[in-house]
């Protein structure tokens, strides 16, 4: 009897021991992101802080799957870290799941920064990772322990053997629950995100089995939620399992904001990366640079949208996506009275705004993907400069473009991250201007594209410069656009959007349309119609051309703008010379009046 009870005890102990091992395996398997350089897992070998490196257990991986009838994926970290030889079943097992963000990463990632801010409960530096400081936060703490206090007093009629069976069955059930539970907790979403997406994250999930457990403070514990599994009675005690976990509802948002944006960018419909060979014959040759191609697609989206909902119709965007909506469709945003950026004053600072709506930006990224681009291409007028109402998307395309066309996406994505803030600022800055511009009264294709075209031709410029310019123009525009709209001539605007601060008056739009429809004046010189317009304009008023060139130099489209105006002037001069020569040759005796008349 005594011997049998001993053997029963040994069996019970083994069950308990295996229960510990299986529990650890389940937790680690669902919290250890796959070893990948993407996940900053260079310190992956440090993930499990077991004092011993004994791998005595690793040889019994498969047989262990039979325990509790639960075959798990191999998780070497779990098994190697679990020092079976040394561990006593009486020792509680604690598994901390730590969210780690590097200080370095936070610098470049608004999402990462937000993440840490949300986890501000307990931030501390750890020198674990060599030179870099880390912000760490325990988001889950699992506690498994065998409580051998005198439960045995509660004697039942059943035999020990039966008890063992019951205990085993209940432990099996408990592990089933655990298996489901670990996938329901918020940390699993992070784990899944880290694993499934091929994105670069600024944080990682690190499960640890600390030897010395640092107890939570009361505040910390109050912040966390607890779930205690119903203990499983054993022969001489009971198995207890509980988890303290943080609710990551807000974190899950922020953790998506940073990583998600590049995903949308890489393969959006109009991306040069997605469709690098796509050409836009309608674009003038001299402006057929990759950036403009992608911009034109943006424009086509907005155009489509514009077509679908006429300017006079309010799109009534919902509150949560009002920003993205505003970015997507300017006419809509313009008609939104409660829009946070309806006022055109500087207080609506672009950067602040951008930080306040990181998600909307992400959505903005996603939205254009849904809009079919091709329909517009046929409709697009030749002289319509490429434009974009979707600022982030524009930048998304801008980045690859800056690397001359279909470059490797990785570099582009990195830049997206690096310039994330600038994007935000530009975003809102542009939105301001779009709100202030009376583009609704414009004819569709051309007038709406002016302003966007200006912003889009900015690839040679630093972001900050452009941002400042945009902000300035947008803030000053409301008061000044009327006069300016009348003061400036439309033709230079047509010239690929080289005019950044152009006011948009209906008259201008009408004039542009008229000019667009007008037959080309000099088809023999170039296929591009834009220089023609410039030339024509400058012929009428060369001084205006100069002024425009100056203006455009300060704005985003320096290179193209300067080129355009310079070309126009050059052509003007050359034509004048040609004309003079011809006239002088043909009518050598003619008076100077003849020259001026022609």
């Amino acid at each position: 009897m005594n011997r049998s009870s001993n053997s029963e005890g040994a069996k019970a102990e083994q069950i308990i021991f295996e229960f510990f091992a299986k529990t650890l395996h389940i937790i680690l398997e669902s919290r250890t992101p796959f070893m990948s350089s993407r996940n900053f897992s260079s310190s992956g070998e440090q993930m499990i802080c077991s004092p011993s490196s004994s791998s005595s257990s690793s040889s019994s991986v498969r047989p262990r799957d039979k325990w509790f009838n639960l075959a798990l994926r191999e998780c070497p970290a779990a098994l190697e870290s679990f020092d079976i030889g040394r561990r006593s079943t009486l020792e509680p097992l604690v598994v901390d799941v730590v969210l780690v963000a590097r200080a370095f990463d936070q610098m470049n990632s608004p999402g990462g920064r937000e993440l840490i801010r949300n986890f501000s409960g307990k931030e501390y530096n750890s020198d674990q990772d060599d030179c870099e400081t880390k912000n760490e936060q325990i988001i889950e703490r699992w506690l498994v322990q065998y409580d051998n206090r005198k439960v045995r007093e509660r004697r039942s009629s059943s035999s020990n053997n039966n008890k063992l069976q019951v205990m085993y069955k209940k432990a099996t059930l408990l592990l089933r629950s655990l298996f489901v539970m670990v996938r329901l907790l918020p940390a699993y979403k992070i784990f899944r995100e880290l694993n499934s997406s091929g994105q670069i994250f600024k944080f990682k999930l690190v499960p640890k089995v600390p030897t010395i457990v640092e107890p939570f403070t009361r505040i910390e514990e109050a912040e966390m939620q607890k779930f205690a599994f119903t203990p499983v009675d054993t022969i001489c005690g009971r198995l207890c399992m509980s988890v303290l976990y943080r609710s990551l509802s807000d974190v899950s948002c922020s953790q998506q904001s940073a990583p998600v944006s590049p995903t949308f960018i890489t393969d959006y419909v109009g991306s040069p990366l997605a469709d690098p060979l796509k050409s836009f014959p309608s674009l003038p040759l001299s402006y057929g640079s990759p950036p403009l191609m992608s911009f034109q697609r943006r424009h086509s989206w907005s155009f489509d949208r514009y077509k679908a909902s006429p300017p006079s119709v309010s799109c009534s965007p919902s509150p949560t996506r009002s920003d993205s909506q505003a970015l997507v469709t300017n006419p809509c945003s313009r008609r939104l009275p409660p829009h946070p950026c309806q006022d055109f004053t500087p207080p609506c600072s672009p950067s602040a705004h951008a930080q306040a709506f990181p998600r909307s930006i992400t959505r903005t990224e996603s939205a254009p993907v849904r809009i079919p681009a091709p329909t517009f291409e046929s409709k697009q007028n030749v002289v319509v400069p490429p434009s974009s109402h979707l600022k982030l998307s524009r930048h998304a395309s801008l980045k690859p473009v800056r690397n001359t066309g279909p470059v490797e996406s990785g570099a582009a994505l990195e830049k997206m991250h690096i310039y994330g803030r600038e994007d935000f600022r530009r975003n809102s800055g542009v939105k301001l201007s779009s709100n202030s511009s009376p583009r609704i009264s414009f004819s569709r294709s051309s007038s709406r594209s002016y302003q966007d075209g200006f912003d889009d031709t900015d690839f040679p410029c630093p972001f900050d410069v452009e941002y400042d310019e945009i902000t300035d123009s947008s803030s000053s525009r409301p008061g000044s656009f009327e006069q300016r709209g009348d003061a400036h001539e439309p033709p230079p605007l047509e010239s690929s959007g080289s005019y950044p601060k152009k006011s948009q008056d209906a008259a201008v739009g009408a004039l542009v349309n008229m000019l667009k429809k007008a037959p080309p004046l000099r088809q023999d010189v170039s296929e591009s119609s834009i220089p023609e317009l410039c030339w024509k304009n400058n012929k009428n008023k060369p001084g205006g051309g100069q002024e425009i060139a100056t203006a455009s130099m300060t704005a985003s489209g320096i290179a193209l703008a300067a080129k355009t105006t310079a070309d126009a002037l050059e052509e003007l001069r050359s034509y004048k010379e040609m004309k003079n020569v011809l006239l002088s040759e043909s009518t050598k005796d003619s008076s100077p009046f003849a020259v001026s008349e022609s």
């Binding site: 009838n69 039966n162 329901l184 909902s309």
Partner: protein
């Protein structure tokens, strides 16, 4: 030993969400009752940010899918109706003849009531995955917001239901039959009012009769 009954929180689902919601709930329950050697399979829901677990048995999957399809067909004919899907686990006993002279007897030991309030969307249902509906362009205006917020609510409710399952499984363990070698999962059946409208009540009656006579399994 009683037949334990668990009434799950009602889920308000649109017709196109039924399949996924039911799969999630049913598989989660069955997973807890698949006590044989299993190789669990994680399934990420498409409509919701939820991962559930299947026991990895093809027959289970097929059985559940078939029943769900039947239910969806039925719900198509009875829209905007509350309905209850019953998942019951039983043991098969070849027993001495009873009044019903069946030699094979089903002894129900657990019943899960999944409550659904299915409704047809007033407008055309969104196509595809959830994140599509979150896109700005898909559902302009308030409609999109409604869909999004409703989806979020349903996701929370579904999560609550899954927690409810876990809690129930944890609290009630004694009635579960012992693990039998070679038996991967406990036999179960899925019924809903329509599966046979006339016999549904009879089934329930039978279950009630049997629930009192559950064989003692343990302790």
């Amino acid at each position: 030993m009683n037949c334990e009954v668990c009434n799950l929180k009602e889920l308000e689902v649109e017709s196109f969400e039924i399949r996924e919601v039911l799969r999630c709930v049913l598989h989660t329950i069955v997973f807890h009752r698949a006590l044989g050697l299993i190789r669990p399979k994680d399934i990420d829901l498409e409509l919701f940010d939820i991962t559930y677990v299947q026991c990895g048995e093809i027959e289970v999957e097929k059985k559940i899918d078939d029943k769900i399809e039947q239910f969806i067909t039925w719900i198509g004919k009875h829209p905007n109706k509350k309905s209850q899907i019953c998942l019951t686990f039983y043991e098969v006993k070849t027993k001495q003849p009873s009044w019903f002279t069946n030699k094979i007897e089903r002894l129900y030991w657990e019943q899960w009531n999944i409550n659904l309030s299915a409704f047809q969307p007033p407008t055309k249902p969104p196509v595809g995955k959830s994140h599509h509906s979150k896109l700005v362009m898909d559902h302009p205006g308030e409609e999109s917001e409604d869909i999004s917020s409703r989806r979020t609510l349903l996701e929370q409710s579904l999560q609550e239901v899954l927690f409810q399952i876990i809690k129930f499984v944890n609290e009630k363990k004694d009635h579960v039959p012992p693990i039998n070698d070679g038996v991967i999962y406990c036999p179960f059946e899925i019924t809903f009012p329509s599966s046979s409208d006339s016999t549904f009540g009879m089934d329930m009656l039978k279950r009630m009769l049997h629930s009192g006579g559950h064989p003692s399994m343990l302790s």
